[in-house]
Amino acid sequence: MAHIKKKKSKELPPVSTASLPDIVFMLLFFFMVTTTMREVDLKVELSKPTATEMQKLERKTLVTYMYVGPPKEKYAGKFGTEARVQLNDAFAQLSDIQPWVVVEREKINEAEQNQMTVSIKADKKTKMGLIGDIKLELRKAQALKINYSANPAGSKELLYSSTNY
């Protein structure tokens, strides 16, 4: 009997990894599309308040960001726990706001400088005293378009019941 017995391997064939790059590239593109570049290294605690009536910030080039909140734990020893302003990558005084606005405005195309928007990203526990002072500084610096950054609230009821502290 010339029956040739095929050599059967008992082991499972290895899983093909040929499509792995495709899968990873898909993930990569997903993240590239859905996320935005991180502008600065946050040095303050930031848990934004919630709101429902929000507009999306169009034209990223016209927007500059300002962060307000209590310093993160690792900076608390040096800067205390009271809410502070962060401009770019450093803590700042209220008096630094005006020169900062001037510098930021210079970065924008000249024809559109009057459309500059300052987005205030403040922690919800911040007292309005500080925010009011910031607003006054912004008015003095002629940066009149502002945006109070907030997270979307799930529903009206959630918004009312959410605590302020």
Partner: protein, 191 residues
């Protein structure tokens, strides 16, 4: 003699590693959060204007006070935040002098605002008010206005205000229900 030599295939085995590297780079340097918020315009800074404010009838002002305990005082009465929207709508949509021909279902309370164009919301807060509460109040006031604009837009053009495409129509609606929120100097009672 071999005429053609086959070009060897490029090894794609490390493709996954390269893609992973890129993926991790993007994961680290980017954030998920969308930039959304409530847009407001600040009044220009001018010392002289403060000394001579233009006369406004008291009934055309909707006074909203927030104290350092985050409690609301609206038109000299305590009010819960959940009712602010309704009260603001009633005030903005009031047709006191009867000149507003687009105020459908409007209240005609002669003691309240004359018409939507004259109605001004005055917002004052304490230095001790929390930012969260302040934003909630701003949100409710914006919501009141947006709801009124929405209703008007549906009546006039059959689509809600956010879906309006025509710039002139948007302008028209905005003119009929203008956003007039005036913010007074902060109080320094609490905190």
């Amino acid at each position: 003699m071999a005429g053609k030599r086959a070009i060897p295939e490029i090894n794609a085995g490390s493709m996954a590693d390269i893609a992973f590297l890129l993926l991790i780079f993007f994961l680290v340097t980017t954030t998920m959060d969308v930039d959304k918020g409530i847009n407001r315009k600040l009044p220009p800074y001018d010392d002289q204007l403060l000394e001579d404010p233009p006369p406004i009838k008291k009934k055309n002002i909707f006074e909203v006070l927030v104290n350092s305990n985050d409690a609301l005082l609206v038109e000299e009465e305590y009010l819960d935040i959940s009712r602010l929207r309704e009260e603001a709508k009633r005030f903005l949509n009031n047709n006191g002098d009867g000149t507003c021909d687009y105020c459908d279902g409007a209240y005609r309370d002669p003691a309240s605002s004359d018409n939507p164009d004259k109605a001004i919301i005055s917002l004052q807060n304490d230095r001790g008010t929390s930012y969260s509460m302040y934003l909630k109040v701003q949100n409710e006031l914006a919501a009141a206005l947006n709801e009124l604009r929405d209703e008007l837009s549906v009546r006039m053009y059959g689509v809600s205000f956010v879906d309006l495409k025509d710039k002139d129509q948007i302008k028209e609606i905005k003119k009929m229900f203008p956003q007039k929120i005036s913010e007074a100097e902060q109080l320094k009672v609490g905190s």
